[in-house]
Symmetry: C2
Subunit: 342 residues, 2 copies
């Protein structure tokens, strides 16, 4: 897992090089075709990547996005009207049967279908109209890291291609370098995890474009450290879960610069009143100063490009915390790499 | 909270009587107008009701549904193309500023807007095209119960009106009686909560039409009992969180008869191998027999009508567990009835 985390800048670079032209042509084709809805279909870590895709695609393109509920198709046999829809399946292995079933249904119903996967020879590739591949090599660790950031990168490229403009969404070419700088936090993370060795519960908070990071970090903590990790947006957190916060219930927050920062600062102030233990991953000095511990990223990583560099310290945190707890992050209890559900 | 839980059959009856005709006319109007997308906008308990609405509306009508991310509108200022969309806001108080902002945006962008609320004089009512009201009286407890089931009921009525047919989705008139029968479980719940007084974590699992029940039960447990309650679909649960299951980490499952039952039985068998402690809310004898404890509902409550009768024992569980823990379910720490977020 640690090796694959470290491979990410290079994997991202290769994926941009290999896929950029194809994604641009796909965007031009879809703009000409005219789509009025984007449906994203995924499970597990890939579903967390899709959650990011949802925010970015809506913000960048103005096209409404729906995160598919696969059981609507696989269990209830619904036939959705998906003419003029783009349906994007996301799967590391390309072998998720339920995801593939939804893609088949959607294509039969008139949708244009795209698969984002790591496996060029998978079942998914054979049934979609277009495939977007990751080029970081096979992922061996059960906990997805480089395929997660590869999927996020594809959403960056797809949003840029569909939006055909607005600079803040389109300069994804800077991401591999940002990822490399995020990896420099490893010694800081190695030191900080010592404090959390006996943590049994926590909540991870993110909002907007970084909401998906909260889900992904929580999933890594559950998979590799058996920490009971809740995840919330800072907005929903105030609607009930706040009642659980106690001194022994740490809150981990993603706080990039940008439009979500004010609400995160408000939440941090409230958490301070409640004497909660807080760990923040941020490029903002004020947020870093308002919490118990901070992992500081460069201040110039803007919110639209933040998901990948901000998830890297979280991946390191999960992998190194597992080691500090005496667990093997590459061999989680009860899990296998491909999960079959229908 | 216990009083309001008990008021539900009568509240549901009154809402059907008062709103049925209006919802039928709305359905006919929308069918004639032609809609190609339904967007649901809500937070907290109301968002859990919307999650049910998402499944039921897609299955019953074939129209794709998207659960809105309010911050796309309120923080990122996106202008979504929502012509031919029906946008439904759900809010107990009708005063959620972010929900109302999304409704305003959507209406300005050409969508037809509907509000589901308990408050006829709220800000929401003044800005939507049509209002669907609940008629169960004011809700005083911070933990929503009768407004949650009132919202679920409105989704039943709306789906029936939009689908204009198929009996399994349309016989919602039976629900108040089913709710009354579910309330008869109170003595059984009162006895069973004793076993969970020292429970600190749990996971709540539901799938498909009952997935929202898992979210809602987890939220009630967090709000009133300060139990760290994870929630998952039985499909996603196998993707990582399963690794956390240990003897002291109980799993609560909703297992109604219907198409999801087989996957729930599979998960129960897996949990038994792992020696997990399981509590199941079910009408199925086999599921009841395969777990540590069961709350048995009548076997003839079909899956399409199950969400309301199945959430009632869960509401009772949260309220009675809070009492058994010596907590006051009507005065959760750190929370107020109306949460303001933007």
């Amino acid at each position: 897992m640690l090796e694959e985390i470290a491979e990410q800048p290079e994997a991202l670079r290769r994926t941009i090089e290999a896929e950029r032209g194809k994604v641009e042509r796909l965007g031009a084709f879809l703009r000409a075709r005219g789509i009025n809805l984007i449906v994203l279909v995924a499970r597990g870590s890939s579903d967390n990547a899709a959650l990011f895709g949802r925010y970015l695609l809506e913000v960048a393109t103005g096209i409404p996005v729906s995160l598919s509920a696969p059981s609507v198709h696989t269990l209830y046999g619904a036939r959705l009207n998906l003419r003029h829809a783009l349906v994007v399946g996301v799967s590391q292995s390309g072998e998720g049967e339920d995801i593939n079933r939804v893609l088949e249904n959607a294509r039969a119903g008139g949708a244009y279908t795209v698969g984002i996967t790591n496996e060029a020879k998978s079942a998914m590739v054979s049934l979609v109209d277009e495939t977007l591949l990751m080029h970081g090599g096979r992922e061996r660790s059960v906990a997805a890291t480089k395929t997660f950031t590869g999927q996020i990168l594809h959403f960056h490229m797809l949003a840029a291609a569909l939006a055909d403009g607005r600079a803040e969404h389109t300069n994804f070419a800077a991401i591999p370098e940002m990822a490399a700088r995020a990896l420099e936090l490893r010694p800081a993370v190695e030191e900080i995890v010592e404090r959390y060795v006996f943590m049994e519960n926590c909540v991870v908070v993110g909002r907007g474009l970084l909401y998906a990071n909260a889900y992904e970090m929580a999933l890594k903590l559950m998979e590799t450290c058996y920490v009971v990790a809740e995840r919330f947006s800072s907005a929903d957190f105030l609607h009930g879960p706040l009642a659980m916060v106690e001194r022994h219930f740490p809150v981990i927050l993603f706080a990039p610069p940008g439009v979500t920062l004010e609400s995160t600062r408000t939440l941090l102030a409230r958490l301070k009143e409640l004497r909660a233990d807080t760990l923040v991953i941020t490029g903002d000095d004020e947020a870093a100063g308002a919490c118990t511990r901070a992992l500081k990223l460069p201040a110039d990583i803007n919110e639209f490009l933040a998901p990948i560099p901000y998830i890297i310290p979280a991946q390191l945190f999960a992998a190194l915390l597992a080691s500090a707890k005496g667990l093997d992050p590459d061999a989680p209890r009860s899990l296998s790499k491909v999960t079959r559900t229908l």
